[in-house]
Symmetry: C2
Subunit: 150 residues, 2 copies
């Protein structure tokens, strides 16, 4: 992923945070993480992330998925692994949890416990999703697609 | 606090969540907690709360303070006690942490670690505050004012 691609995705993500009515500081806008999961196909596989806080015990993030974009299947392992609640703030989220699909509209939420395979994608308007969780550590995410590097 | 007072405060809180652009489900609106901390003086001491999630490990809430309303001084004890991050979504928050005042505007946040005395009040427009924390248990809150019952 080029620096230019990354910068364009971050700018585009800001417009989605605005649609959701979420106020970010200038520093947060500068620090938006654009994850392509090492697949270099951001149009289909990617996630834009603002991390609010990530201490030893608690993590909170605000994530953007563009229309058609998906976060690929993975689970959080560990002792114990990460627990996370997704709350849809804008758009629509198609969340697949161990083969079962849940549709989240604004105000809807779903809690995913450790060691549970899941993936999610946005509907046609994209999506903004708040995540409330235990500590985030990318290195304890196990992706089904072995090509993925996080 | 009468049932009527409580219902009026809950309705008023909904208008603040709307000002902050926060979408709540009908069930969440019905379940808004109005806390007067047993002082029966909601105008000055009180807090309106929507609990999104509160598991063994993670809690997330959305709180409203009306103009002039304060949440009285307390700390979270335990082994370990509750850790919480406040993020201002609307209005202004005057947060006092062990005697030091921090002013939070929309997009600003502050993390309070266990066993740390704190209290907070809204500015003249009221405030909406997201809280990201470890598990919430009212019984492990120790208030400075011994009259307070939570």
């Amino acid at each position: 992923m080029t620096t230019e691609t990354r910068a364009a995705a971050a700018r585009r993500a800001i417009s989605y945070y605005e649609k959701a009515g979420i106020v970010l500081t200038p520093a947060e806008k500068e620090a938006i993480e654009v994850a392509d999961f090492g697949l270099n196909d951001l149009e289909h596989t990617g996630l834009q992330i603002v991390v609010y806080v990530n201490t030893e015990r608690v993590c909170a993030k605000e994530m953007v998925l563009f229309p058609g974009q998906a976060c690929p299947e993975h689970k959080h392992v560990g002792a114990p692994g990460k627990e996370e609640t997704f709350r849809c703030r804008y758009g629509q989220v198609h969340l697949d949890v161990e083969g079962k699909t849940v549709i989240l509209h604004p105000g809807d939420q779903y809690t995913i416990y450790p060691d549970t395979l899941h993936w999610f994608r946005a509907g046609e308007d994209g999506a903004v999703i708040s995540e409330f969780s235990t500590r985030s550590t990318d290195e304890t995410d196990v992706f089904t697609d072995a090509r993925i590097v996080r």
